[in-house]
């Protein structure tokens, strides 16, 4: 597959960019932040995203989805990153749909159409360590009745407060750190013993701490095989990481554009600061870095669509590169804006906050460079 968007994908890009610019621009992010919105996103926008087919981007047509693939999902996330649009796209449309496609026929029939309609939200409750480490699962699932009893704490559950169903990784065997013995469960957050505490995060997105105390789940709520959840979890995470890379690419893109526009008009010492060579070289270097992040991200999304063997490596490449570039782009953005870049009144700071949060989500550049090195055998 040539490393380029198809005509269809270019159309999706154009419509996604138009949609988020109109329906969920940065000003909406600001008002969600200021109102301390409990969900962290607008349900109205999410309903429109479902109408556009975005919620069902990875749901098969048979289940009412648009089935546009990962490149399309990434295009949507990039447009969201450009506008800092908040929506349960990652948690539900990417992670949720990827998970449920591995479910039983019953599970698929129950959940996938709802996902595509934007009528049901999911959240992945996997991470326990503050630094992402997907095999670090201490939450236990002990046999109980015709199912299991769950106990544990999940510290960082994206969109956890708004979710209708939690996808919980718990241990039915093995020790903390093992990949074998991890099982995924579909848990209703309203069940006895589940408490979901909204956490206020730097990027004002929805996240929660989920505590599971003797939560009884049915055998039918196991997703995939018992003890075999890690493979599904990795699949979910890789889809999520590639889409996060795309979102960070959007964050980089707007940070960069805002900054270049700013230094073109801002004057100091009687000159446009964009005429100072040191800033020009830094901007030009940043331009190159954003281009590299773009290539790596597109490759990862294509690899997911092609079910390539090298998907994990390309996904880590994209997450590592796009993450570093988003941090660089937003940092350079604030620095080149000078004092006003530090004020809450100005938008550039939001991009820095989102870049950092996205960097820490599902593994930062250190995690992914380690994963790449291991993949390449060193």
């Amino acid at each position: 597959m040539p490393l380029i968007l198809t005509d269809d994908q270019q159309m999706i890009r154009d419509s996604a960019e138009g949609f988020f610019k109109d329906e969920a621009p940065v000003s909406q992010h600001r008002s969600l932040r200021d109102s301390k919105d409990a969900a962290g996103f607008s349900r109205d926008v999410w309903a429109k995203m479902a109408e556009m087919g975005f919620a069902g981007v990875l749901v098969p047509e048979a289940h009412g989805g648009a089935d546009m693939g990962h490149v399309a999902a990434g295009i949507i996330l990039e447009a969201m990153g450009k506008n800092l649009s908040a929506a349960p796209m990652l948690s539900t449309a990417v992670l949720g749909a990827t998970a449920l496609k591995q479910g039983t026929a019953e599970q698929q029939a129950k959940y996938l159409p709802l996902i595509a309609q934007g009528a049901h939200l999911l959240a992945l409750a996997a991470d326990e360590a503050a630094r992402h480490k997907p095999n670090h699962v201490a939450t236990t699932a002990a046999p109980s009745g015709n199912g299991f009893k769950l106990n544990g704490v999940k510290g960082f559950v994206l969109d956890g407060a708004a979710a209708d169903t939690l996808i919980v990784a718990a241990r039915t065997g093995g020790d903390v750190g093992d990949t074998a013995g991890i099982t995924l469960f579909l848990v209703n957050p309203k069940s006895d013993g589940v408490s979901v505490d909204r956490r206020s995060m730097v990027d004002s997105r929805g996240a929660a701490r989920v505590t599971l105390a003797d939560v009884q789940v049915d055998g039918a709520d196991v997703l995939g095989g018992v003890g075999e959840g890690f493979a599904i979890l990795e699949k979910m995470l890789d889809a999520g990481r590639a889409c996060l890379a795309a979102e960070m690419l959007g964050v980089s893109g707007t940070s960069f554009t805002m900054t270049v526009d700013y230094i073109k008009q801002r004057e100091q010492f009687g000159q446009k600061i964009g005429s100072f060579q040191a800033l020009q070289h830094r901007a030009a270097h940043l331009f190159c870095e954003v281009e590299l992040a773009r290539s790596a991200t597109l490759k990862a999304l294509q690899a997911l669509d092609e079910c390539s063997d090298r998907t994990p490596m390309y996904v880590s490449l994209a997450k590592a590169k796009a993450g570093e570039v988003a941090i660089l782009a937003s940092n350079e953005g604030v620095q080149m804006h000078g004092g006003i870049g530090m004020t809450d009144e100005y938008d550039i700071g939001f991009f820095m906050k989102r870049a950092r949060a996205a960097q820490e989500t599902f593994g930062d550049a250190a995690f992914h460079s380690d994963r790449i090195a291991r993949t390449l055998g060193y």
Binding site: S200, M201, D203
Partner: protein
């Protein structure tokens, strides 16, 4: 030297007798720091007593002449006082821009009447000062300031506004750069004016930062009448005073405030605690490499501060190094905060929470991004090094 030992003994005895026990505790909260001023709210009686006693001896400003409310101590005596205070962990009795910034400038550029009027009140913490330098839109190009002070015979009429005025909403007086001669070239025509923030036509509004609320304000002047005797130094030569003070500020930001000292826990200790070891090395090799690289630079930077200080003391100084310390120190501090954010992972992203300290890291990280902007941007420091130290030609 015998005199100095006598002085030490006396000082020790005085401190023992006069420093309240509460003032020997480490500083824990913002309100443990006393900034003085007309509207001062002491946290407790001890804080008030401590300021009064130290102010009466002039030991809030030990090296200032006693005629101006200072302690009249020699450099050696002041050092002894500082050592003895450190010995009993005595807090500083007064924090004040008057002491750190205006005072030295007043001593150098002020006339006798101004010194007698202002310095004692600074020393006793009676008047709290703020600094009016930056203006909206000026940024690094400080000298492009537009706040005007029109000569009206017996007074100046001040119009304009200042930005990034720390604690303007709490200050009693302001020292302020104004343009007294609009026809003169940019760096000329600037004067240094002192006036009361209670004057009619002065108003302030706080600035919210990306890290949350801040001590910074925007300050507005709308036909403020300032007596002509409040001009400090020579009219039109205010830029010289500004430059003198900027170097002071740069040293503070680069050298101490933002990079802190040895008392802070090292990045590697925090990483060890939070991430743990695996076969005796940090259980994340990429972070380990980045942390080691950072600590190498932080150690070498700390040694450089030590060396520059020693060279300055001995007169070997290579000079003009404050830009280096400001540039490198603030860049290192930003890097430190980035590393701490990486180490803390998702916990570092918390903005608000029930437990005390939650959100602190994220806010400190965001706040650190201003280090390389305030007090002269990193770019300006590099320009200064290029021009003044390396003598590179102008563009």
């Amino acid at each position: 030297m015998a005199d100095l030992e006598t002085f030490r003994a006396e000082t020790r005895a005085w401190l023992e007798a006069n420093c309240p026990p509460e003032m020997r505790e480490p500083i824990r909260d913002d309100d443990d720091v006393c900034w003085g001023g007309r509207g001062v709210k002491f946290k407790n009686e001890a804080q008030k007593l401590w300021l009064e006693r130290m102010g009466a001896k002039g030991w809030t400003v030990p090296e200032w002449p006693s005629a101006y409310g200072g302690g009249g101590l020699s450099r050696e005596e002041a050092k002894v006082l500082s050592e003895e205070m450190r010995r009993i962990k005595a807090r500083s009795a007064l924090s004040s821009f008057g002491i750190w910034m205006l005072g030295p400038a007043l001593l150098k550029y002020g006339n006798e009447a101004q010194k007698l009027e202002h310095l004692p009140k600074i020393a006793r913490g009676e008047i709290r000062w703020c600094q009016g330098y930056s203006e909206p839109g000026a940024g690094s190009d400080l000298a492009s300031l537009r706040t005007s002070a029109e000569d009206k015979g017996d007074h100046y009429l001040v119009n304009g506004s200042k930005v990034w005025t720390s604690y303007a909403d709490k200050a009693d007086w302001i020292f302020c750069l104004v343009r007294t001669d609009p026809a003169a070239p940019k760096h000329l025509g600037i004067s240094f004016l002192l006036f009361d923030m209670a004057s009619e036509g002065v108003s302030t509004s706080p600035i919210k930062l990306i890290s949350g609320s801040s001590p910074f304000c925007q300050t507005f002047f709308d036909n403020v009448k300032v007596p002509k005797e409040n001009l400090m130094g020579v009219p039109g030569k205010g830029w010289d005073i500004a430059k003198y003070l900027l170097t002071h500020e740069r040293d503070m930001i680069g050298g101490s405030d933002s990079t802190g000292g040895g008392q802070r826990d090292s990045v590697s200790n925090i990483a060890k605690r939070l991430i743990g070891l695996d076969a005796a090395i940090l259980a994340d090799t990429a972070l380990r490499t980045d942390i080691a690289r950072h600590e190498i630079n932080a150690l070498a930077f700390g040694l450089t501060m030590e060396r520059v200080l020693a060279e300055t003391k001995s007169g070997q100084g290579t000079g003009a190094l404050s830009s280096m310390l400001k540039y490198y120190g603030t860049e290192l501090n930003k890097e430190r905060m980035e590393l701490l954010m990486s180490i803390r992972g998702s916990d570092g992203l918390v903005w608000e929470g029930e437990e005390k300290g939650e959100g602190d890291l994220a806010r400190s990280w965001l706040r650190s991004r201003a280090n390389s902007i305030e007090g002269g941007t990193s770019e300006v420091q590099l320009n200064i090094i290029a021009k003044r130290v390396l003598d590179l030609p102008g563009a």
